[in-house]
């Protein structure tokens, strides 16, 4: 409806030109000056995310696939949705196969388009694991950019979301993460900040977790 | 000075004379508060001038949407404050109207510059006592428990927050118990009280309950609109709490 388009833009232009507006300078110093040193960053992320019921699992580069397996086994998790084409996914499938999967969760690849996978995704998956691009100290948030190998619903539909966080991929603020990495030069289909499990306070301001999305968020810190 | 409370007012030198703008509510309903305000200033060695031509800042009409009428009344005040002295006002609301809204009200008018000049000299009474005169009071009254109601416009238009309580705390025998919701509007709002009497009644009802909970014998305030509303409701509800203007309260406590 280009008629409305032109009418709206014409009216806006006339309105603005009759009374131009000079905005004050945007001073980002308040964001630029928010800094924490290395150790503080991770501490703060943990503290803030734990305050909204996020769980943490500490592990190492060498051990994380086994530690995740042991963790899920202890939780009684039946299966784990993963992205087989990622480096992390490849390690999961080879290392879990080598160690034997008996009694542990089954690995389920997100290999098909959601149209043919939807029923299983909504009804048969306990947990999903994704990588992250890092985390933000200011707000206690994970940065997640879904990809064809790690689709968007992996971090949303399963009841538990496990997120791999490299202990050295930490930022002070959201603003720092996006400006330093020049996000504006090319945004992905979907970029997310995730700061806890799904929650609501819509019933008499009483917090309840797991309203639509994951009931549990487990951050796997890889050192 | 800014209404969003982000900046505070720069200091000025202690003047030899000040004007007193009494306000129309004080004039009709609380003249003793006005007199007390002038006497507090005089007691600090300042000469006080009360121009007899003054009437009202124009706020009632301004807030009702009758700006032309408000302008007419505001303009009539300009002639009476010719000296370059501070204008002290025993009301945060009227002071706010003059210092914050007059520049808008006079915008584009031939006397805009003059109105701005007058507006820039306006001080709320307690702010003036604390910041400019740096008063020190000696309490002469018997022990009493009181509470403080903060006027919306004193706080949010004049940036007066701690000054009145600082003055009250200088009084050794006065126990100041703060309200749970000290900063919440009492529900006066000028014509709001008669336009929406039921909401206003509910608001002042909450305020009265808050006051009663403190166990105070008096509620002190710096604005006669709030006082008329709150003490009217206290009296209407037969509550044994007295509403009193801060100028009058300070005067009573310090001059015996």
């Amino acid at each position: 409806m280009s008629e409305s388009r032109n009418a709206i833009l014409g009216k806006l232009r006339a309105g603005r030109d009759a009374h131009p507006l000079t905005p004050p300078e945007s001073d980002f110093a308040v964001l630029r000056n928010k800094r924490w040193d290395g150790a503080e960053r991770l501490e703060r992320i943990k503290r803030m995310m734990e305050a909204v019921h996020t769980e943490f699992l500490e592990t190492t580069e060498a051990d994380w696939p086994a530690d995740v397996q042991a963790f899920l086994k202890a939780q009684g998790t039946r299966n784990l949705l993963f992205g087989p084409a990622t480096e992390a996914g490849a390690r999961l499938s080879t290392e879990w196969a080598a160690s034997g999967m008996a009694g542990g969760p089954e690995l389920i690849p997100y290999a098909d388009r959601v149209e043919t996978f939807k029923e299983r995704l909504f009804d048969g998956i306990d947990a999903g694991i994704t990588t992250t691009l890092g985390a933000i100290a200011d707000t206690g948030s994970l940065i997640v950019w879904p990809t064809p190998e790690e689709p968007r619903l992996m971090s949303l539909v399963p009841h538990m979301h496990l997120a791999l966080l490299r202990a050295d991929a930490l930022y002070d603020t959201f603003w720092q993460a996006m400006t330093e990495n020049r996000w504006a030069d090319g945004m992905p289909t979907n970029a997310l900040l995730i700061s806890g499990p799904s929650k609501t306070a819509d019933i008499e301001q009483t917090l309840a977790y797991g309203v639509h999305g994951p009931k549990r968020l487990v951050v796997v810190i890889v050192r | 000075m800014s209404h969003d409370g982000t900046t505070s007012r720069p200091d000025i030198e202690r003047p030899e004379s000040v004007y007193f703008f009494g306000t129309c509510l004080v004039d009709l309903f609380y003249p003793e508060a006005g007199m007390a305000g002038m006497e507090l200033l005089k007691a600090q060695g300042v000469r006080v001038v009360f121009p007899q031509g003054q009437s009202c800042c124009g706020q009632p009409a301004y807030n009702s949407g009758y700006r032309e009428e408000a302008l007419k009344v505001a303009r009539a005040q300009l002639d009476y404050f010719p000296g370059d002295w501070p204008i002290v006002v025993p009301s945060g609301s009227c002071a706010g109207m003059m210092s914050k809204h007059w520049p808008d009200l006079f915008k584009g008018e031939p006397d805009e510059a003059r109105a701005r000049q007058v507006a820039s000299r306006v001080w709320e009474l307690t702010q003036f006592l604390v910041q400019v005169l740096k008063v020190k009071f000696e309490d002469q009254g018997p022990p009493v428990k009181i509470t403080w109601h903060a006027s919306c416009h004193a706080q949010r238009e004049m940036g007066v927050t701690d000054e009145p309580k600082a003055l009250l705390r200088q009084l050794a025998n006065v126990e100041l118990v703060e309200l749970q919701r000290e900063k919440e509007c009492c529900g006066f709002g000028g014509t709001f009280a008669v336009r929406h009497p039921e909401i206003s009644a509910a608001m002042v009802g909450d305020k009265v309950a808050d006051i009663e909970n403190t166990g105070a014998k008096a509620v002190v305030s710096g604005d006669c609109g709030c006082l008329m509303n709150i003490s009217g409701a206290l009296e209407g509800g037969k509550k044994p709490v007295r509403g009193v203007h801060i100028a009058q309260f300070l005067k009573e406590r310090t001059h015996g």
């Binding site: 409305s4 709206i8 806006l12 309105g15 098909d112 | 001038v49 009360f50 929406h196």
Partner: protein, 474 residues
């Protein structure tokens, strides 16, 4: 007052009688105010981020037409289809035509105030399409066949017991429970089925970034992500003021938004959408449509002062801090946007003839102005609209519709008296003598004395006392 005028006074009177409702709001607003204060306890940080946020919004408004064109160009480049609607009718028609093309029967909705403004649910139902709210609060309100009472917390007027009864009554598989976790879980089970089968997802937009063609949504529940990821078609509706210039403008605004709204440093999800599903991607909608709605906003924009209304980021903090809203609740306003922002926005969008009473639903206490994260001069605009309501003009629709000859005469008389020292002193001296004889049953005095003692005129005015005490006049 016009015939179609919405009666705020009458609706608020009913709300004031409802002690349950008053209790619900008082508790909720007290909690929200104190939690917000903790978020902004660092005054220097608050001033810095607030000034930055206001500058971001003002900069966006200063280039609004250009930024909307840029947003359109970048969205289009990214594969998002952009539509423009002058009116809510037109926006509804656009949404419906998309639905009909894909033969949609079920729509899941994330929270969107613009869709409330459009009365989109009712419109779609009329055309045989089930439109299901999926934000828990919106879902509750929809089950209750009511309107949201707060823009952030739609069901804030209800307590757990009321919601428990509602669920038992309206949801087939529901067992009666007052356990919030169980009630939430029930909604999860019901709505997950709907997400999986919906044909279209509808969302609002918290911010659209012109620089990158990105739609930003913030939420805690995940229903917004569900609605914008699972169904094959996503339609986003936004008011035309929601654009910002640069991607780096997003962080400060989000920080102000979530802290002001619900006192959270950030919401659980910040969802930034820049394109439909690309080649090789396994999920996400195949089509995204962005509907940009004017509905009177371009008119608001034309006025230098009223334009500031469009800075709003819809955090709802003005409601939480409004002593009038706290007393009467959101429904009394009978508007998608209640509270202070609604009281200035609704009259400008729908006209003063219908909404002219709302700018008077305010004591001008400035509590909203003090906490507005983008420094909207709400009370000044309130005053301006009061003036517009009684003076014919062309800045706002319905200007002059509330003009009353009697009221105008009163103010004229008042100004003549108060602008003349002689007349003023004569009148006040007269009131000092005779004023107290006025019966409490007089109009205005009657409203006042319902719960208050009659104000007493002093025997002598301050003018008289000052003369007697020899206070100099010059």
């Amino acid at each position: 007052m016009g015939e179609t005028s919405i009666n705020f006074a009458k609706a608020s009177s009913a709300a004031l009688q409802d002690q349950q409702l008053r209790g619900n709001f008082r508790r909720a607003m007290d909690g929200l105010m104190s939690k917000r204060a903790v978020q902004f306890a660092d005054t220097a940080e608050w001033n810095g981020v607030r000034t930055l946020g206001a500058s971001v919004r003002l900069r966006a408004l200063s280039k609004l037409p250009e930024l909307l064109e840029k947003l359109e160009a970048n969205c289009t480049k990214n594969g998002i289809q952009v539509h423009w609607a002058s009116t809510t009718d037109e926006a509804n028609a656009i949404v419906l035509s998309i639905m009909q093309r894909v033969n949609a029967k079920l729509v899941v909705k994330g929270k969107s105030m613009v869709s409330e403004e459009m009365h989109l649910n009712a419109f779609l139902e009329k055309h045989g399409i089930e439109s299901l709210e999926s934000d828990l609060g919106e879902y509750i309100v929809q089950l209750d066949e009511a309107m949201p009472s707060h823009i952030i917390m739609p069901a804030i007027h209800m307590n757990t017991k009321q919601i428990a009864h509602l669920f038992k009554q309206k949801i087939k598989e529901a067992e009666y429970t007052e356990d919030v976790a169980q009630l939430t879980d029930l909604a999860r089970r019901v709505l997950r089925k709907k997400f999986a089968t919906a044909d279209v997802g509808i969302s609002g937009v918290n911010m659209a970034v012109a620089e990158t063609g990105t739609l930003c949504l913030v939420e805690n529940e995940g229903n917004g992500r569900m609605s914008t990821t699972v169904p094959p078609v996503h339609i986003a509706v936004m008011g035309l003021e929601k654009v910002v210039e640069k991607l780096e403008d997003v962080p400060p605004v989000i920080s102000l938004l979530t802290r002001s709204a619900t006192a959270q440093p950030i919401t659980t999800y910040v969802n930034m959408i820049s394109s439909p599903r690309k080649e090789g991607e396994k999920d996400g909608p195949n089509e995204i449509h962005l509907v940009i709605l004017d509905n009177g906003r371009s008119g608001i924009y034309a006025d230098e002062e009223l334009r500031n209304t469009l800075r709003c980021i819809r955090c709802g903090a003005c409601m939480n801090h409004c002593p009038v809203y706290t007393k009467v609740g959101g429904h009394a306003y009978q508007a998608p946007y209640p509270g202070p922002i609604g009281s200035i926005l609704m009259p400008q969008v729908e006209g003063l003839e219908k909404r002219g009473e709302l700018p008077h639903a305010c004591t001008m206490c400035n509590a909203c102005v003090e906490i507005c994260p983008v420094k909207i001069p709400i009370v000044e605009i309130m005053g301006r609209l009061r003036s517009e309501a009684v003076h014919p003009g062309d800045a706002v629709r319905g200007a002059g519709s509330h003009a009353s000859k009697a009221e105008a005469m009163v103010w004229k008389g008042w100004s003549m008296t108060y602008a003349s020292p002689l007349a003023y002193q004569f009148a006040t001296a007269l009131l000092a003598k005779l004023g107290n004889a006025a019966p409490a049953s007089l109009p205005l005095l009657k409203e006042w004395t319902n719960v208050r003692a009659k104000p007493r005129f002093a025997n002598r005015t301050l003018h008289a006392l000052a003369r007697e005490k020899g206070i100099p006049d010059v």
